[in-house]
């Protein structure tokens, strides 16, 4: 969000709402029928949104959110602009929180295991049972994911009372990074990385735009770095990894390293830098002598000259930044690899500049798997094992033996709110609340404290109870009184301590309300970086390329999914149907194989192969991908759930089945890059539900780019002008004769309204012309806008079968075209992204062909679709050159009825999450992007209520713009020549897709991507 956006009035309601929430949460009692309020709730104004601040609970990164509620129900989450981590945006997983809250597969009551499976049990009984088992046994174990600080403290208190220990386990743990930081700098913490400051980024496989540490924060920093600025300069990224993740696709250069060779390459670069004057301290100086670029050629598959050039570049373009490897690169020497990257950063002088050690990332999960492994081996002695916020039965390799060990424990309790794989093994399930209906806090940086507050009464369909409340209540039953009847009291007590430090001298109530209103408190304390030096390692490390198990043909990369993370978001249809940003595949899993390797194996995309490692075997369809080395294949985490809910179950395969349960030393992390595999074609096919038609632009000006060298003031192209004049003249002649002819325009603000446009009885002088610009140099293809749009506009999901038929309903199609992707040698990389939405053409081909005027042009320049009037001829979609119109082939928003066969249809209470401002479309009608017309109206109405003031530029923000972490999207009135969108249209990189071909006069101006290499022609 930038300065133009003002939502003071939202803040006002948020303030009032926040204060109220402390007393009564919010307002819905169990609403079963539509009944008017007898005594209206003061906070709830029908038709007006109430916003609450909170903390996103979808991953541990700790982004701040604004939760939008309507009539007491959560309908959307958006990023909190005041929160320094999220700064107004979230990731797709964050936006899908609404589907977590209203997930039909949430458990409706506590369950206890009897002789014939689970049966419901009352909360009182359940807590009694747990208290009894805790009293009976000892040596209890609490397995937890990353939790907020207050809950962590409560769990510790609880365990000290009942006797037990807490073990933290997250599927995506960055333990090697923390350990490497400890070894190198003596501080056991996860540093923060300042991408915005950097001019050059070397990512050794860290997918920092998708899952690595704090993706939303990195995203924003990266787009600031990589987007070309007004002076025609832009930062560069080089991706050094065997497989291109989405982050990799955004790089300017790809160095396809051999798997596991990050350490030697980083050290060889450091070697070059030190030789040319860098300082690494005596110990590392000696170490680096062994890593001459020549000596690592073999191990890395990279010519020495290349390494030298990369090294020199790294100290030339300062500040630079090297990051990685991420979870996908956690091999047997992962700590050493992270340490090597630290050394490289150190010798290039980046520590303290782009790598911050003081302002550490406290939220990032960094607990080693090793601790869990030892807990597993001791589990048979444990009395009660409690599991919260983690799903080891799914996310650990089979070899970890979690299942057997867990079975041997005395009593097993899960706090899962959905029946996940671990809950299925438990004796008692006490369903937790969703973060949007629960209290909590977060402390993602030493200086940042944020409060998570319930934005609505718990969804009445489910009898859930917050884990903190359960622990306090059970503690009382076991005779431990922590002096807090509810977790809310406990939280306030914790925050009284914070207050004494963060805001000494203020009344607590005032501080509390202020924090709730804003969502976050920033500590006044400074965290100076201070001098940092490299320490000699206190552990035995090997920097060599690690061995991989087995003698298979391919190295296997298992990477965190940008959609499901470690798998915890798999039961959300929005995410299942979100085309993977890299493969564009929905719902199912796939194994990525280089096309040349696929040819060798005689398989093509969609052929089922058996992937065999020494540790397991999965059958999965092939997806050929030029962005992976020929000797490597890759599988995403997060698929293959055996339990967990209707949307996740049976979708894809669990990549962890192929891995050994091995502990990396010395960090204790689980080894992910561990094994080689063979691919054996099975002879059968399982076509993948992809939205990709062709990944080649076929020389069409869809997503052109411009080389950085040629970017600059362009001389007035007189030739082109005169050519256009001729065409214009001819059209004008036709118009003069009374004929209907399109009006050609360059899209300049003063051109609107277009001469001869038909406005009916409206006065175009009074009306704006809404327009959008999308900077493709900033767009990273992350697809967050797709999920945000889906949440905002009640866009249905359709299921795998329908997507495979080509019937996906997304209003935004994130196109991905390969220009230069070459795994065979390092060099320039060029992948183009283009979010294709309705272009709201000034001369729209869809409008004249609709026989019933369902597609028509509003006086504000919007290309409107009247759902009620649509009869479903689909002529508009045929005639849309951008193919952005999607059709309701069935009643995709119709709810599954109880007793229906299991399907992907939405089920109660998912309908609670519909946005009441947007119509839910029925079967047989066309729909498409509306430029969030309801948000335009909302802003206009607000301006009218506030004394008929004119709308300010930037006051109307469509959902996609709101969600874009790269801030690539600008929206506004193009007739206001001072508006940012009008200025963006005038940018020399501006172009309108296909406009020159078919004169559609789109309202969307794209700004060409800027590449470092030269592009072939003017068009490309």
């Amino acid at each position: 969000m930038t300065d133009g956006i003002k939502r003071r009035d939202f803040l006002k309601v948020v303030g009032a709402g926040g204060a109220g929430a402390t007393m009564f949460g919010c307002s819905t009692e169990r609403v079963e029928k539509l009944l008017p309020y007898v005594i209206p709730d003061e906070e709830t104004v029908p038709g007006v949104s109430t916003w609450y601040t909170s903390v996103c609970g979808e991953c541990p990164a700790g982004c701040g959110v604004w939760v939008r509620t309507r009539e007491g129900r959560v309908v959307k989450v958006e990023g909190n602009p005041d929160h320094p981590i999220s700064e107004g945006t979230l990731c797709s997983r964050g936006y899908s929180a609404v589907q977590g809250l209203y997930n039909p597969d949430r458990l409706s009551s506590p369950l206890v295991r009897g002789a014939d499976g689970f049966s419901p049990i009352g909360w009182d009984e359940a807590e009694d049972l747990l208290a009894r088992r805790l009293d009976e046994g000892d040596n209890h174990l609490f397995l937890a994911g990353r939790m907020g600080p207050s809950l962590t403290n409560l769990v510790e208190d609880f365990l000290s009372g009942v006797g037990g220990v807490r073990r933290e386990y997250e599927g995506l743990s960055e333990a090697p990074l923390r350990e490497a930081t400890r070894i190198a700098f003596g501080r056991a913490r996860i540093p923060t990385f300042d991408f915005a400051q950097a001019r050059l980024v070397y990512s050794f496989g860290a997918d920092f735009l998708e899952t690595w540490l704090s993706p939303v924060e990195h995203h924003r920093g990266f787009s600031q770095m990589a987007g070309v600025d007004d002076h025609g300069s832009k930062g560069r990224m080089v991706f050094l990894a065997p497989r291109l993740s989405l982050t990799g696709q955004n790089a300017d250069e790809w160095v396809p390293l051999k798997p596991g060779s990050e350490a030697v390459v980083a050290l060889a670069m450091a070697h070059v830098i030190v030789q040319e004057g860098g300082d690494a301290g005596p110990y590392y100086q000696r170490l680096l002598e062994n890593y001459d670029p020549r000596s690592v050629e073999e191990a890395s598959g990279l010519p020495a000259e290349e390494i030298e050039a990369l090294a020199r570049q790294f100290v030339e373009d300062t500040p630079s930044l090297a990051v990685g490897p991420g979870v996908a690169g956690h091999h047997r020497n992962a700590t050493a690899a992270n340490l090597s990257v630290h050394i490289l950063n150190f010798v290039a002088g980046n520590i303290g500049r782009t790598v911050r050690l003081q302002e550490a990332d406290r939220a990032a999960p960094a607990h080693p798997y090793g601790e869990l492994a030892s807990a597993i081996s001791a589990m048979s002695d444990a009395g009660v094992v409690m599991v919260h916020g983690t799903n080891p039965a799914y996310s650990l390799p089979v070899g970890a033996g979690f299942g057997q060990a867990f079975a041997s424990a005395g009593f097993r309790v899960s706090f899962a709110s959905e029946m996940d794989e671990t809950a299925e093994l438990c004796d008692l399930i006490l369903p937790d609340r969703h973060p949007l209906e629960a209290w909590g806090d977060s402390n993602p940086r030493p200086s940042l404290y944020a409060l998570q507050q319930p934005a609505m009464q718990p969804v009445s369909t489910f009898e859930s109870k917050q884990v903190g409340d359960v622990l306090l209540s059970v503690a009382l039953r076991t005779g431990n009184d922590f002096g807090a009847p509810t977790f809310f009291d406990y939280l306030q007590r914790e925050w009284q301590l914070h207050q004494s430090r963060l805001a000494p001298g203020r009344a607590f109530d005032e501080f509390w309300r202020e924090t709730l209103r804003k969502g976050v408190v920033v500590s006044p304390d400074a965290f100076p970086e201070g001098p940092i030096s490299l320490r000699s390692p206190d552990a035995i490390l090997s920097f060599d390329v690690p061995d991989l198990d087995g003698d298979g043909e391919f190295a296997l990369i298992v990477y965190p999914s940008p959609r499901f993370g470690d798998g915890r978001h798999a039961n959300r249809p929005w995410l299942q149907e979100l085309p993977d940003p890299v493969s564009k595949v929905t719902w199912h899993s796939w194994v990525e194989v280089h096309p040349a390797a696929a040819e060798r194996l005689e398989v093509r995309t969609g052929d089922l192969v058996s992937v065999r490692s020494p540790h397991g075997e999965v059958e999965v369809p092939v997806w050929t991908y030029p962005g992976i080395r020929e000797d490597t294949v890759a599988l995403a985490m997060g698929g293959g759930h055996e339990s967990f809910g209707r949307y996740a179950q049976g979708m894809g395969v669990n990549a962890m089945d192929l891995l050994p349960a091995e502990v990396e030393q010395p960090s204790g992390a689980l080894v992910h890059l561990a094994t080689r595999v063979d691919l054996v074609p099975t002879g059968s096919r399982r076509p993948l539900a992809t939205i990709e038609g062709s990944s080649d632009q076929h020389n069409r000006p869809i997503a052109p780019a411009v080389g950085l060298p040629v970017l600059g003031p362009v001389e007035a192209g007189s030739q082109e002008e005169s050519h256009d004049e001729g065409a214009h003249g001819e059209l004008k002649e036709i118009q003069a004769m009374g004929g209907f002819a399109p009006v050609a325009t360059e899209g300049k603000p003063e051109d609107f309204p277009l001469e001869g446009s038909r406005y009916g009885q409206y006065d175009p002088e009074e009306n704006p012309r809404w327009a959008m610009s999308i900077d493709l140099d900033k767009c990273t293809g992350c697809s967050i806008c797709v999920t945000a749009c889906q949440s905002e506009n009640n866009v249905p999901w359709v299921g795998e079968e329908q997507v495979a038929m080509g019937r996906d309903m997304h209003w935004i199609r994130l196109e991905r075209y390969y220009e230069t992707v070459d795994a065979s040698h390092p060099g320039p990389l060029d992948v183009r992204f283009l979010p294709m939405i309705c272009q709201h053409c000034g001369n729209a081909p869809c409008e004249p062909v609709c026989p019933v005027y369902a597609a028509y042009h509003t006086p504000e320049g919007l290309n409107a679709q009247v759902y009620n009037r649509c009869v479903g001829t689909r002529y508009c979609a045929n005639n849309c050159p951008y193919k952005v119109r999607v059709f309701n082939w069935f009643g995709f928003t119709e709810m599954a009825k109880p007793g229906d066969e299991p399907s992907v249809a939405p089920a109660e209470p998912m309908n609670w999450g519909f946005n009441p401002d947007v119509t839910v479309r029925s079967s047989g009608v066309m729909e498409k992007c509306s430029f969030c017309v309801h948000r335009i109206r909302e802003a206009q109405n607000r301006a009218r209520v506030e004394g008929q003031r004119p709308l300010e530029d930037g006051e109307v923000i469509p959902a996609c713009q709101q969600a874009c972490p790269a801030q690539a999207i600008t929206f506004g009135d193009i007739r206001d020549s001072h508006s940012r969108v009008a200025q963006a249209t005038q940018n020399e990189r501006g172009y309108r897709v296909l406009d020159e071909h078919i004169n559609t006069q789109p309202a969307v101006t794209y700004l060409k991507k800027v590449t470092f290499h030269e592009v072939d022609s003017g068009e490309h």
Binding site: E692, G693, I702, G806, M836, P851, Y853, V871, N878
Partner: protein, 458 residues
Amino acid sequence: MATVLNEKERGALTHPDVESFGQVNRDILKILSRPGKGWWALFSVAVLGVGLFFTCWIYQIITGIGVTGLMSPVGWGVYITTFVFWVGIAHSGTLISAILFLFRAPWRQSIYRAAEAMTVFAVMTAGLFPLIHLGRVWHGYWLIPYPNSRFLWPNFRSPLLWDVFAVTTYFTVSAVFFYLGTIPDVAAARDQAKGLRKKLYQVVAMGWRGTDREWHHFGKAYVFLAAFATPLVLSVHSVVSWDFAMSIVPGWHATIFAPYFVAGAIFSGVAMVITLTVPLRKIFGLEAYLTVKHFDAMAKLILLTSLIVLYAYMSEFFMAWYSGEEIERAMFWNRLFGDYWWATWTMLVCNGLIPIMLWFKRIRHSIPALFVISLFINIGMWFERYVIIVTSLSHEYEPFAWGMYRPSLVEMGIMVGSFGWFFFWFLIFTRILPPVAIAELKEVLPQPLRGSRKEGVA
């Protein structure tokens, strides 16, 4: 009507065995008596087809249009293909009865009744398809401009609306024209029928007595309607072609579409007439009235229109290349060698290659050969529309949005069922109306001479 032929011409158009007007009456009206087993067998198949048609349609209405294979980017498929196919079939009826009438082509007399019936039933079939393909068929009447309190009118700029007008107009005019032509024959049938049938014919014949005055008026009306229907033959299919030509889809947006579609329609229509009359002739023993000469004339018409259609194909490909427009070129390249190559080559072989055989007189005079060729043309013309619609849509401007359409069983069911629906009406027609025009046949017979034959004028 007023066709004046010399003796030689007359002799060539009917078999020498046909000696008297009375014999014509008997031969033709015999068809209307008790149906044989063959008719019942065909009729049962047609009824099954009707059942399939409506079962599939009702299932589609209840479940949603998604039971088709349609998707993005291919929003039109088998339904619109079949619509255009039936509209095309509907063409030759009016062509044969109206245009050939105005041009005084005497060979039309024997076949025009069947061809006209085919026209009416083909339009009745075609007219259902725009409804079938709607996402919300229950709102289909919104395409009709009817006065309403909200002043909501259809969009007169939309070619689909023109379609509504073109098809309904064509149906009305051809139905009236068809009915008018049957009046004297119905009167002849009335004179022989008994019971309920007689009552029915009495009403339909509107008291026709065959007076000179009536014949005079009849002739005038017939000429007038023929002249009125003639431009419609050209306009209907032109309008249908504009559904495509008015769009900006590469492969649709071409100025040649109107003449191309009209020629194609006549091509397919005449082929369908052959497909229908060959069994008709066999089953009802009309060899004396439908002679090789008739088939020869139709074969020549097919040959001509086949050449026009082939020319249109060539010019489309040429223009795509000549335009230099990459997107257009890519589309046509894809049409020939892409995912749907088999459909394109089926079309080219059936419509361009196979009719070349008609240059040979031996083939034109072989009824079985003509029947087989006409079947190929029917298939080829169905594929022509399929190729135009599907290949163009599947390979448009945005490469990332390209996609492949595969028809579903429901679509195939409705397509096949539509033949059942068509034949259902056509078979009923052969039972209740003389499928060969009795009155006009007599015009090509030698004039009866007083005393030379035993029987007189009927």
